[in-house]
Amino acid sequence: MPKMLKAVVGNLVTKPATRPHPYRRREAFARARGRVIFDISRCIFCGACALRCPASAIRVNRTERELVFEPFRCIICGACVDGCRRGCAQIIPQYHSPAYTKPEETYRAPIEVKEDNQL
């Protein structure tokens, strides 16, 4: 036990190791995998991300031009980001915060010029 004394006294004089989390938020590390977001303006609805998702958290409907993402099913592995050639799927370091419900995120393509002409 005397061996421990040095550490104990050391702990008394050094500042606490605790991160005062909810009061002062820590900047996420730059390369951390926090959550997946989609930049839908770049999406061509090829479905490569949906194919590569091990948890099948992404559904792509090509005809409706719609991408449905379930953040509460996503395991943040980054396989979709690796598979996306358009840079639509992205990973940001900030984690997804907890929630009372688990909503799906639906991304729709912005209305295109072609469709404007038809209208």
């Binding site: 036990m1 061996k3 550490a7 104990v8 590390f29 948890a55």
Partner: protein, 359 residues
């Protein structure tokens, strides 16, 4: 002859973070027979591995066990690489060693902390886990996630390290080593710790081999077997000597793991300092066909992957034999004769990982 009582230990028990049930037959305070009841964490990953495409399985097998996920990913990737005849680049092999060893370090520290907690030595538990947080931060900074780091992929690794990160990791390791040097002698020389572990749960070398023990349990019984000796990934270049103790009791297992912490720090340091330049990924082609077996050394011991492919995207069979599964039978030999109060310490001494065991 006392009264016989059958006592269920678990599945939800304060000492065990994981659900396993030990049905213990007691005669007064002494243990007669032990029967493990498993199945609380069985998910069916082997079956899911046949349904998925083979590249997706990497993410699946990493979730066999959160504590040694890097090792699972590595073993699976190595097995598929064998079937596809893909050779990962040298730099990828070194990086694999770095991350696998960092995972081993955090796993061993976690275990030492839990051991201290099992004695009721809470201060030491806190100290060790504080050191462990440094390793977790290093993992998050380099690999992107704290626990399941998902760095392995078929043909190499998914992330590269910059010079800056290498420097930073080396600094973290030096600090970690300094603090461990202050703490670990306490756990190894303390009167209370010795009193609770020396001579408890003795396993001789013969018994260990006969029961098929692996990893630190086997090495604590005096058998120098560590799969890193076979030189997979970059262990061949880095050179490796296994750590062996001869007593075979709980104390020897703690010593093996404590010494392995320093060895691991040394391995990571050498791998980072000698990191060769080059690519980190060889693109795999085709579909796996044939059968392959790969064994790697997980923090808890030998991990075996048997992979059979049939030329399609889906595997025909993926078999995972995890180290804890091999160590569970040793419990049935170590526990009988011990006192009931020692059950948590002896059970912990094999470092049980139930989610590994049942998959």
């Amino acid at each position: 002859m006392g009264v016989k009582t059958i006592l269920p230990f678990g599945p939800q028990h304060p000492v065990l973070p994981e659900p396993i049930q030990l049905r213990i037959t007691l005669e007064d305070e002494n243990i007669g027979q032990v029967l493990p009841a498993l199945g609380y964490v069985h998910r069916g990953i082997e079956k899911a591995g046949e349904k998925n495409d083979y590249p997706l399985n990497v993410y699946l097998v990493e979730r066999v066990c959160g504590i040694c996920s890097a090792t699972h990913g590595l073993a699976y990737c190595m097995a598929v690489e064998k079937l596809l005849a893909v050779e990962p680049p040298l730099r990828a092999n070194y990086l694999r060693v770095v991350w696998t060893e960092l995972h081993r370090l955090h796993s061993h520290l976690l275990w030492l902390g839990l051991l201290a907690d099992a004695f009721g030595f809470e201060s030491l538990f806190m100290q060790i886990w504080r050191i462990r947080e440094m390793v977790m931060d290093a993992l998050e900074k380099t690999a992107g996630n704290r626990v399941i780091i998902s760095v392995n992929t078929i043909g190499g690794v998914r992330r590269d390290l910059t010079e800056e990160q290498i420097e930073e990791t080396l600094r973290t390791l030096a600090e970690c080593e300094k603090q461990l040097n202050a703490i670990l002698p306490v756990i190894l020389e303390d009167y209370t710790v010795r009193k609770r572990t020396v001579g408890k749960g003795v396993l001789t070398a013969d018994q260990a081999l006969r029961l098929g023990a692996v990893g630190p349990v086997l090495r604590a019984s005096g058998v120098a077997q560590d799969l890193r000796m076979t030189g997979y990934a970059a262990y061949g270049e880095l050179g490796f000597e296994p750590i062996v103790e001869t007593a075979g009791d709980c104390y020897a297992r703690a010593v093996v793991r404590a010494r392995e912490c320093f060895q691991t720090i040394d391995l990571v340091r050498r791998a980072l300092q000698n990191l060769p330049e080059g690519d980190i990924l060889t693109k795999p082609r085709g579909n796996p066909n044939g059968r392959a077996i790969v064994r790697v050394e997980a923090p808890r011991g030998e991990l075996l992957y048997f992979v059979a492919g049939n030329g399609t995207k889906n595997l025909e069979r993926m078999r995972v034999r995890t180290p804890t599964l091999a160590n569970v039978p040793t419990l049935l030999e170590m526990l009988p004769g011990a006192e009931f109060a020692d059950v948590p310490v002896i059970t912990l001494s094999i470092d049980p990982c139930i989610s590994c065991t049942e998959r």
